[in-house]
Amino acid sequence: MGPLSSLIAIPEWLDLLIALFIGIGFGFSLEQAGFSSSRKLAGMFYGYDTTVIKVFFTAAIVALIGSQLLSYFGLLNLNLVFVNEFYVAASIVGGVIMGAGFIMGGFCPGTGLCALSIGKIDAMIFFIGGLTGAFLFAETYPLIQKLANGSYRGPVKINEAIGISPGFFTLLLIIAAVIMFWFAEIAEKKFARPDITSEI
């Protein structure tokens, strides 16, 4: 675990144990926030419940601020943190498929597992659907290989692509998030569906 391992030498098993506890904490907080309800999740797209965007945007910003500060104080080496590789076409196509699946199913992979753990049947079907999709991807890989590996841009960071410092980018993202939160509140009033929100 980044900050700790730069101060004390942590054996690998302890690193993995810490990761296990962090994962348990993640699942716990997802469930506590009500994210195992597919109606709450789908509400993001219909406008009557904007919890998803608030929670995830907050999580992203807290992680961003935290990692920037830890890096500044020399406790975390950001060069060791994995950055996803960017395949333009694949990201767009994959995003569309995932978005369609999210709206139709009312779950995304993480929340789906969360709901599965409390025994929801629609989550079980969703999970089977996800595994089927992964299986199909593997079986048809030779056909879609070109799309999957095309337009490779490498592990890009937005602030490097635009040419601003990471701290300034964080500020811009925070401003965007705050604006988004205000719009979310307005949307909730406009698209209110009290028949659904009173139940979840």
Binding site: L69, Y72, F73, G74
Partner: protein, 151 residues
């Protein structure tokens, strides 16, 4: 006043963070970010200086010496010696960073001078030079004679 009272915790945390950041940005005792930039003078060899050029420099000269070497007698004028193994102590590092004149590193072991230069440069010290008697340390002084008879 009401606002401050209601949000005590948050305000305290933000202020603590601000103070920590200010302390960190003004402290002298950590490495700069961007190692490549601060290593650059070693690539262009602009950090090596010989006696003729030392004589052209003005101002008090700080000379960092390791314990096995003695101060080069040929450097005259206002000179202060600093022992290499305590070069990172608070007094000396601030002295070096705030110094107006040149800072020279001298050692009989030139490798050691190179190492100390790299540390000081990465701490953000500019105008630190390695003092050598001759400037040909990285030239190969021998010629390879190939053996053209195949065994």
């Amino acid at each position: 006043m009401e606002i401050i009272k209601n949000n005590k915790v948050v305000i305290v945390l933000v202020v603590i963070l601000l103070v920590l950041v200010i302390i960190r940005s003004t402290s002298v005792n950590h490495f700069q970010s961007d190692a490549k930039r601060w290593a650059e003078p070693s690539v262009s060899q602009s950090n090596i200086i010989t006696l003729e050029n030392v004589k052209l420099l003005t101002g008090k000269k700080l000379i960092i010496l390791d314990k096995n070497s003695s101060s080069p007698g040929e450097i005259t004028g206002d000179v202060q010696n600093i022992p290499a193994d305590s070069v990172l102590s608070k007094i000396y590092i601030s002295l070096i960073k705030n110094h107006n004149g040149p800072v020279l590193i001298f050692s009989m072991d030139q490798g050691l001078s190179a190492r100390i230069w790299m540390i000081l440069s990465q701490m953000g010290c500019q105008s630190v030079y390695i003092y050598t008697k001759t400037s040909d340390n990285e030239l190969l002084k021998y010629k390879f004679r190939p053996d053209t008879i195949m065994h």
